[in-house]
């Protein structure tokens, strides 16, 4: 699969940090290499945290691993970093197999959830740690530290201790420390989860800017779909140790392939129904005591039990009974529009949007354009 945006970006990168130095060592121009994960497995006794992850990441790509907590995304990241040994599978960086190397020989940059800044070192010492490990000459190291600090806009704070800085600043130091070694891949483990909402929004843009500026490959672990959608070139949705779907943010948002992924992408209403007829890519489904028309993207057959999924903002409630009838249970104003929940005749709870304030208990009609309904075949039908 070729992503055109990735190709455009890789053409423009390499502009910020000069690439050079001895070949072969970490941080040398390996950044041009593809990172290939093949059948990654990680078992803890009888529990499998990763059950075979296959993923190829192009140079310069920003990939988000997205999933609920416990889905194995952090385990995957730790395995890539070498902090946790694999129990199966292979990791290749270009031609080189790296899964048996200890973390210090992989040369990846990592940003930890808790930042993990060395509390006894100044910001400059923290950032320079990786360079000292690589025995980069002092003069060059100083120049690269300056460069990295100005990239994260902390140039003036180099002599502070991490404990004297705010959470957002610490986060920037952690990023500078990870990128100063010019790693082929930067790994980020929920780096924004300890920040407040406003700072989180700022840092999203900031991280994407830094990624573009240094042209590195980034693997970004998060459980927040907004973060993933807004930052990543490609999103990998994980669940129970497996990849459920991979695709661009638009792909995932518009065309989730599984009901679980759809729910994660905001399709909150689930209505069970049965396929009545199919014609010209349109399906007619009997659901919630009404007949609903939808665009079929996934294969279903007549007579099959299916789940319809609809986003609240696409499910409009009106006073007249058009298609599906429901009874309003709750309603709240969210600026511009009202959002609420209603019960259908068969007891299904749905989430809807409305232009007016309905009263609780009122009967409403719910409708949605056929193109905004997802139809998934139910297992075992």
């Amino acid at each position: 699969m070729t992503d055109t945006r990735v190709l455009q970006r890789s053409a423009s990168d390499g502009a910020f940090l000069p690439r050079g130095g001895p070949a072969g060592g970490p941080g040398s121009p390996q950044s041009r290499s593809v990172l290939e994960l093949a059948g990654l497995r990680r078992d803890f006794g009888s529990f499998s945290a990763l059950r075979g992850i296959d993923l190829t990441i192009a140079p310069g790509e920003f990939v988000a691993l997205l999933g609920p907590s416990g889905c194995g995304k952090t385990t995957a990241l730790n395995c890539i970093a070498g902090l946790m040994p694999l129990t199966g599978g292979r990791i290749n960086l270009g031609e080189r197999r790296i899964d048996e190397l200890p973390p210090e020989q992989r040369g990846f940059g990592m940003v930890f959830q808790s930042y993990a800044l060395f509390p006894h070192m100044t910001v400059r010492k923290n950032v320079g740690f990786g360079l000292a490990m690589q025995k980069v000459p002092r003069k060059e190291a100083e120049a690269r530290i300056d460069e990295a600090l100005s990239l994260v806009r902390l140039h003036a704070q180099g002599d502070k201790l991490p404990g004297q800085m705010s959470g957002g600043q610490q986060q920037r130091v952690a990023i500078a420390r990870a990128i100063v070694i010019r790693p082929p891949v930067v790994l980020m483990d929920e780096p924004l989860s300890n920040l407040d909402a406003k700072l989180r929004l700022e840092m999203r843009a900031e991280i994407r800017r830094i990624h573009d500026a240094i042209g590195s490959t980034t693997i970004y672990v998060t459980h927040d779909q907004d973060e993933a959608l807004s930052m990543a070139d490609r999103i990998v949705v994980m669940q129970e140790g497996m990849i459920r779907q991979t695709g661009t943010p638009e792909d995932l948002y518009e065309r989730p392939l599984h009901a679980d992924v759809a729910e994660f992408m905001g399709f909150r209403t689930r209505i069970h129904g049965r396929v009545r007829s199919m014609q010209d890519g349109r399906v007619t489904v009997e659901a919630g005591g009404a007949v609903v028309e939808a665009v079929a993207r996934n294969p279903v057959s007549v007579g099959q039990t299916v789940t319809l999924m609809i986003r609240p903002e696409d499910f409009l409630a009106t006073a007249e009974r058009t298609s599906i009838g429901g009874t309003v249970r709750t309603i709240e104003y969210r600026g511009r529009a009202f959002f609420g929940t209603a019960s259908l005749a068969d007891g299904t709870d749905v989430f809807f949007r409305s232009e007016m304030r309905h009263s609780v208990g009122q009967a409403v009609g719910l409708s949605t354009p056929p193109s905004q309904i997802l139809v998934f075949a139910e297992d075992g039908s």
């Binding site: 200890p102 973390p103 210090e104 060395f118 509390p119 991490p162 790994l187």
Partner: protein
């Protein structure tokens, strides 16, 4: 009425009650809870300490400094300082050097409680029991010498009791658990993510230890050293039972005890006890002062 009550004069400092003034300085009924324990220690520790200091300057004969003069001019008494230090320094250092790598291992274990309990076992034995056990165990016919001879490490039984080495062994055995306990708590207080971060930045095992762990552990190790050193430095029963109390293990505690309770010279006994405390204090201050050279702050991570 209401107008005057709300006027500024009503809340001038002069009108504040004693309770309010104390509360402003952080003293209230909860602060007073510290008093019973504080009074007990003032009566049982501070007062006797000062009393001992005064008594030590009131010798039976001679000028006020006679006891101190006697201690430092009598080679038999003076040498007790070296005898004690010669036991306390190596045993404390050995305990720490042993405890540090073991604590690093134990930290990674899932079932650390069992091993820790076993390692803490000698703490319950106490010095007297260990001395009694070692007398037999390290004796010429004891298991230790038998194993050495069985393995042909030594041709004849080593002399390990009633000398320096018997006391040395007993101090390591009884001192290690405490040292280990403290070291383990400091080691496990360091956020594991720091080590992981260092590793991803290219730091190998040696660099991770020297650049991350050691600087962060140094203040804790200094405290550990002091607390363990006190125990070794106060060595008394094992030096009598297991050592050569008239010779190489004539430690300062024995000298103080003999002066006070065998020669009934409380003044000299107190003086020796003060010297003992003084030497200890100098070492503790020196070690703790060296902590200033290191980072002192939270090591659990940089959050918050």
């Amino acid at each position: 009425m209401s107008a005057t009550a709300a006027s500024p004069q009503a809340v001038t400092p002069a009108r504040m009650s004693l309770r309010q003034r104390l509360a402003a300085r952080g003293i209230d009924s909860i602060t007073l809870l510290v008093l019973p324990a504080l009074l007990a220690l003032v009566g049982l520790f501070v007062y006797p300490f000062i009393y001992g200091l005064i008594v030590s300057f009131a010798p039976k004969v001679g000028p006020f400094y006679e006891n101190y003069h006697k201690f430092f001019s009598d080679p038999f008494l003076r040498s007790t300082i070296w005898h004690t230090l010669a036991l306390a320094f190596p045993t404390t250092l050995l305990s720490i050097l042993l405890a540090l790598p073991i604590a690093f291992r134990v930290r990674l274990m899932r079932r650390q409680r069992t091993l820790t309990t076993i390692l803490l076992l000698p703490m319950t034995l106490g010095t007297v029991l260990v001395a009694q056990g070692l007398l037999t165990y390290l004796g010429p016919h004891g298991w230790f010498n038998r194993v050495l001879m069985l393995l042909h490490i030594s041709g004849r039984p080593l002399e390990l009791t009633n000398n320096y080495w018997g006391v040395f062994a007993s101090l390591v055995l009884t001192g290690f658990p405490f040292t280990f306990l403290l070291t383990l708590s400091y080691v496990s207080g360091i956020d594991p993510a720091l080590e992981e971060a260092a590793a991803t930045l290219g730091g190998g095992a040696w660099n991770r230890f020297m650049r991350i762990f050691l600087p962060l552990l140094a203040p804790g190790l200094a405290v550990t050293f002091c607390l363990s050193f006190v125990q070794s430095f106060s060595v008394f029963p094992s030096a009598v039972l297991l050592g050569a109390p008239a010779g190489s293990t004539h430690v300062i505690a024995i000298a103080a005890y003999q002066a006070a309770f065998e020669q009934y010279n409380y003044s000299l006994g107190s003086a020796i006890a003060m010297i003992m405390g003084g030497v200890q204090l100098v070492i503790v201050i020196a070690v703790l002062a060296s902590r200033q050279l290191f980072y002192r702050g939270p090591v659990g991570g940089t959050k918050g």
